[in-house]
Every structure is written in structure tokens, then in C-alpha cells.
Symmetry: C2
Subunit: 434 residues, 2 copies
């Protein structure tokens, strides 16, 4: 065994990179909780059928799929929403709705790794189940924006709505899988091909209207466009009109809250389960680059798994792209590093008691962290402390131990003091202030 | 798709159970950091060869293994230490040692699920690389004990040391794989069979001494036993004597720190990579039940992966068993739940600003969390708030909105007050105190 690299497209995160991920996980979790979301942890492995149902063409092609020993087809999750809905149907149906859930989970896709695209990648997600109102979309969006604000990422919303396209296609008798495929083509910027296929399948119908909506980037013009088609739309008019106002309300509320939001009629997103409002997050000034996350309505995904129809919306942020974009250093770690050196025959248990009295004391807990080390000699211990950037070293030699004392050394200033061990914490706090 | 259960042996963690896991993850992470450990995140999927090398007979038989599309054999990690060592060799060799690392990760084993044994399970681990001293063992142990103390789990250390057995067998010319197998038999309580196989392989040698050590539960008698064999041991005497004093020092230090620790000569543990001191954690009063974690020395595992010899020690705690044993309710969540009700035509952005001004304010951030909800009417909103146990509801109707006001309702006392929105936080804080 001399291959030290992890499998292709996978990573070892160590040092500052691991710290950054922990920081992002912790900020995401904290923000989600503050906005009333509660955690859910679903299996990393699922039956393939869970994702087969509605995960979109791209994703289905690039899953890690294998048979277990009893020949059941399993898949490493390519995303988490399908599992959340499955778990909702199994365990949470009786709860008062809406239900707000968050997760942080690694997902897998088997495709050529590219810059910032890995075969194992991390997602932070928010879901609201059981609320039809646009407020549910706004709740996940606001919480995600708050997270991005906290880590210092200025971002732009790109907003679309597939409900209108789906409603028009449904009325034309287009099967759901064909709808998914047409939307997939629009997402791939193959609008002409999508419309041709649509015409070839069900004839003209609303195809011209769909084309005009797809090509109208100015949201204010959509309203009059739809009004022009009012008689032609008949009973569909109300649905289309409602979805357009959901779109406007969402964008307007985001703008009122100080965020940038832009309408993009050709936004469709890769997952086949989206049914209505959808959105993506772009980094400010980098709108041509891939999004750092996105989400939308997936009303009725519950029914795909045999459950009753339920409204639902959610989003997932790509932690890996966010990590690459986060210039801000992890601000959560402000603790000073302390090393207790146990020299010669000093009992280790004594050194640990000294350590615990310092880092475990209410006055020390927020400011200090540390460990015990027993080097070959003092010089070796201090050299190590210097190399790893210790702030304070507590030196306990045999003489100090017999007298119940310790020498505190401030590694930055070089100042040192020998004090009774029960004064160690105060001495350090004093050095910290002075 | 009507199968709602996750794959056999895997779980959906929701509600209080998910909260408990998050709490345990957070306490483990926090304790590890306080003791100077830094995070490492390794891939969930590894090349099979990484685990094939030294994971032990049991584990090798029960891995999830499959071929990727380029016919490379991959495995879902059954444990994390092998990956940590691989990542150490790849990325951390130049760092000043010792290096202290922690992880929280799900692992997988493909075997019949039993009570508290799942096919996907969670481990919290600590590793120290590059320190020969027993202090490194004590550092991981003390940090783990601190974590268990914090979550209220009284625990007992069961301590052994396979170094003596390995040294004696090595001297007798027993190949390492045979050593692993013999130790595996001892671990399975098949001492007689182990000794017979040993005799059959290499003759009598030290077999009688090994037998006597294995059957001597009283640590104080081991010392004189080894002295009796001093001449017979020759140059091995010093190694054996050192390992015995490491064992005694470890146990004594733990006892001095107030922990219960017991010597168990037949403790071997399932992983083949252990080379010296080993230990397990049992719940107090439940010592006959499976351990909640364990660890030990794996000096030289680096060499198995083609690197230079390096001292190393570590442990992993089984979060699932710990979760089952944790009676203490998650104490980290003390925040009161607030719901902002946006009624009628009140702009959602206004409601979100009110929410953010309350939960985002320094005075509110530690005490309150909340969300915006737009119910069909006030009664529906309050009913929902009641059902999910909201502490406060901030009601904003159109009249309140026009006047820049909100009605704060304390759901526990029923008290309510209409105040200017910029007084909402203070009003809530007042209600919290009164």
C-alpha cells in the first residue's frame, strides 16, 4: 500500500482548510437554528429508487450505485432533499406544519472532477414542509442570506419560476417526465431544441407563449404579456398570474431586505423535482461563474413517494464553493493556546489537574485551550511550543511540583512568572490584558 | 416508490434524536478543541487497500466494498484512523510533532444490525501522532473523559497492553499476521485455542509466560511474574518491563484524576493495528455490556502505508451507544422560540426586519430564535404557535404595520402588549424576566 492519495475527486481536509469547513458548518448550523430550523440526519446510503424517482437526468447518470449482498440497489446520496421527504413521510406526517428542517451532509457524484467540483462534496440545506405561502421560500432564502452575510459573502439572487412552464405543458397534455426533459434542455440553454421537441410531441398549443416568456428577461413586461394571452389561457390564467406574483413578491421582499435579486426566465436548475419558484445564489461580481447554491419549490414531491400531496420548498448551499470564496478567516476561534509542560518526575495527573483548572474554569473557558506535553527536556518543550505558536507555556519541574507552583511563560512577550498553581489562571489572564 | 424505510441498519434521525446527536457532536468537538486537538476531514469513500492493510479480521469481512467505473475497489470507511494516517503521510509529515487531531464521522459496516449496532454509525475520534510518551495516551483519554463527564456519563476504563504479547511472539519468530490472528482469538475469549495455535506454529517458546500473563488479572502480580522470567527473557526484559510500567502509569494517572480504571489482560480489541497500550470505555454499572469506545497505541501504522515509522495513539467513541445512554437532555439549547406573524397585507420584508432586529440584536442573540409565518388568519397562527411550543408571538396586522407597531404575546402567561417595533426586543426581554 503506497498509494497515499484519496480516491479521485475526494479530499483530505486538514489544517486551515479543515478549520474553515468546521467554521462554515458551525455558522450554517447556528444560523439555521436561529431561524427556527431543526436538524435532520438521514442515511448517507439510500436505496437507488429514492433518487431514481425525481433527481434529474444529470444526477441519475452520475450516481455511485452498487448492489448490496442481498442484491438491493443502493446509492450514495447525490443530494439530501429526497431523503428528507422520505423521512418526513415516515416519521413526521403527524406534526403541526409548517416544519422547518436543516442538514449539513456530504453528497456524492461520479463525474469528472473540475475546479471546485468534487466527487464527494458538502451541502448545507434548509427545507420547509407544509407551507404554500411565498413566505416559506423567503424564510429559507433569508436564513441562507444571513449565513452568507455572516461569513462575509456578498451574493446575488437569480430567480425563476418553472410553475408557469409546467402548468402550460400540463394543459397541453405533456407527461411529467417529458416536462422534466424539456426543462432540462432549457436549463442547458437549448431553448430552441426544447421548443421543437415540445412541438413535435404535442403540437403548437402554448409553445409560442412559452417561448415569449422564456425570452422576456424584463419581469415587468411578463405581466402585460400574460394579460395579452388571458382569453387564450382561460382557466390557466389565474394559476399563471399567481405564480408571477409569487415571483414578484419574492424578488421585491429580497430587495426590500437589501439583497440583490434578478429575474432569469431560463433558470430551471438540474433537479427534476422543482415545481415552481426557483432561485440560485451567485457571488457578487462573479455571476458568470457557477452558483454557490440554490433551491426552490418542490410541491408534491411527497406524492412521488406515495404520500399525500404536500407543499414544500427548500435550498442547498454548496459548502465547497463557499469555502473557496470565503476570504474571511475563521473568526470563531479566538482562544489562546496553552501548553502545560510536565518535566522530569512530575506526575502527569498533577499536570492534567493544572491544565483542567485553567481551561475548565469559567474565566478561562472562553479564552484558553490547551494540552499537557512531556518533552525530553525543557528546551525541547519550548522549541515545540514556539513552532506550533503556543501563546502560554506552564512549566512544571520537580521543584515547582514539590512547592505546588508553576512557571508561566508568555511566549509572545517572553515574560515569565513563578506562581502558586491556583494562581496560574489569574496570572495568565493578567498577562493577556497587559 | 412506496418503500419509505431507509436501507436496513440505517436510520433517519429527526426531532429530539437529531437534536441529541447535534448536541453530542458539538460537545465532542468543543472538548477536543479545548484540549488542543484540531479537525481533520477525510473521505467517506477510500480505496479498499487502505483498510485491507490493518483493519482486523472482523472488519475486513464486513465492509461495504464495490468497484468504481474504472474497476478500482472502493470501500465505505469502517473506521477513520487508517485514513488519518494516510492523510498524515500525505500532508502533515513536515509539521512539528506531536500532532493532535479530532474527527466526527459516520462509518459503515455490513453485518446484521443488533441493538445499538447500526450499519451506518457515528464515531468521534482523537489521535496523537509523533509522541512515544504515555502522556499522549493520557491526553486522548483525558479529553474523552472530559467529554463523557460533560454529557453526564460515568464511565470505567478497561486497560490492557498487547505490546508484551507482540514482543514475545515476535521474538519467537511469529509473523505479524499470525500475531494479529492470535490476538484476535484472545479478544474472542478463545485463549486456549490461541495458545494451541501458537504452540503448533512456533513451539513452546514463551507460550507459558504468555499464558500466565493472560490469566493474571492482578496487575501488581505481573511485575513479580515478569521478574521471575528475567533471565529467560534476556534482552526482552527491558521492553516488557517498560510496557508494564506504561500500563501502570496510565492506570494510576487516570485514578489520580478521579476516574475508575481496571486492568484486563485479555483485552485486545478488534483492530489489528494496535501495538501497545489499549483501553475501552464501559458505562459505570454496565461493564458486561459492549464498550462505548476505546483506543490505544498504533505505533508504526505509518510504516504499513510505506511511510517512516511514527509513534501514534488514539481512540474513537461510539456516538450511537453514547446517545442511547445519555439521559441528560441537550442543555445547549436554551433559546426561547419566537414567531413573527405577518397578517393580511403586511409586507413580508417588514416582518423579517422585525425578526432580525430581535434575534440578531446582541441582547437577543443568546436568548431568542425565531421565524416569520404568514398564516391564513391570526387564530390559525396562534394555534400553530401553541402546538409547536412557541414562547413568544409577535403579531403584526395591517393596523400595527401602518403605525410601526407590533403586539407581543407571551404564550406561557397569555400576557400581551402592543409596542413600537423598535421596543419589541426590550418588551420580550422584560416578559422573560417577569
Amino acid at each position: 500500500m503506497t498509494e497515499l492519495n484519496p480516491p479521485r475527486g475526494m479530499r483530505d481536509l486538514v489544517g486551515g482548510e479543515a478549520e474553515l469547513y468546521e467554521y462554515l458548518f458551525s455558522e450554517f448550523r447556528d444560523t439555521a437554528r436561529r431561524f427556527g430550523f431543526e436538524p435532520i440526519i438521514t442515511p448517507t446510503l439510500e436505496y437507488f429508487a429514492v433518487f431514481e424517482a425525481k433527481s434529474g437526468e444529470e444526477i441519475k447518470k452520475s450516481m455511485y450505485v452498487f448492489e448490496d449482498k442481498s442484491k438491493r440497489l443502493l446509492a450514495l446520496r447525490p443530494e439530501v432533499t429526497a431523503s428528507v421527504i422520505r423521512a418526513y413521510l415516515r416519521l413526521m406526517r403527524a406534526r403541526p406544519k409548517p416544519i422547518r428542517l436543516y442538514y449539513i451532509a456530504q453528497c456524492f457524484r461520479y463525474e469528472e472532477p473540475q475546479y471546485a467540483r468534487y466527487r464527494e462534496f458538502w451541502q448545507g440545506g434548509l427545507e420547509v414542509i407544509g407551507d404554500k405561502d411565498v413566505n416559506a421560500d423567503l424564510l429559507v432564502a433569508t436564513a441562507a442570506s444571513e449565513f452568507l452575510d455572516r461569513i462575509g459573502l456578498r451574493h446575488v439572487y437569480i430567480v425563476g419560476n418553472v410553475a408557469t412552464y409546467r402548468a402550460l405543458m400540463r394543459k397541453m397534455g405533456v407527461a411529467e417526465e417529458i416536462q422534466d426533459h424539456i426543462l432540462h434542455l432549457i436549463d442547458k440553454d437549448q431553448v430552441d431544441k426544447a421548443l421543437e421537441e415540445l412541438r413535435a410531441t404535442v403540437g403548437e398549443g402554448y409553445v409560442e407563449l412559452i417561448r415569449r416568456i422564456i425570452l422576456t428577461d424584463d419581469l415587468s413586461k411578463i405581466e402585460s404579456l400574460i394579460r395579452d394571452y388571458k382569453d387564450f389561457l382561460g382557466e390557466l390564467y389565474e394559476v399563471v398570474e399567481q405564480e408571477q406574483s409569487r415571483l414578484c413578491d419574492f424578488i421585491q421582499a429580497l430587495k426590500d431586505l437589501g439583497y440583490q435579486a434578478r429575474y432569469q426566465p431560463r433558470l430551471v436548475r438540474g433537479l427534476a423535482y422543482y415545481t415552481g419558484l426557483i432561485f440560485e445564489y451567485k457571488l457578487e461580481g462573479k455571476e458568470a461563474e457557477p452558483s454557490i447554491g440554490g433551491g426552490g419549490r418542490y410541491d408534491g414531491l411527497t406524492a412521488v413517494y406515495g404520500g399525500p400531496f404536500e407543499y414544500a420548498t427548500g435550498l442547498a448551499l454548496g459548502i465547497d464553493r463557499i469555502a473557496l470564496a470565503t476570504s474571511k478567516s475563521p473568526s470563531h476561534e479566538v482562544k489562546k493556546v496553552l501548553m502545560v509542560l510536565a518535566l522530569g518526575g512530575v506526575p502527569l495527573s498533577f499536570a492534567y489537574r493544572v491544565l483542567k483548572n485553567i481551561i475548565g474554569h469559567p474565566a478561562g473557558v472562553a479564552m484558553l485551550k490547551g494540552f499537557v506535553y512531556r518533552p525530553r527536556n525543557l528546551a525541547r518543550g519550548l522549541e515545540y511550543g514556539n513552532k506550533i505558536g503556543c501563546d502560554f507555556v506552564v512549566i512544571i519541574g520537580e521543584k515547582e511540583y514539590r512547592e505546588g507552583k508553576a512557571t508561566i511563560k508568555d511566549m509572545k512577550s517572553g515574560e515569565q512568572k513563578t506562581v502558586r498553581v491556583d494562581e496560574a489562571l489569574n496570572t495568565i489572564l493578567g498577562m493577556l490584558q497587559g
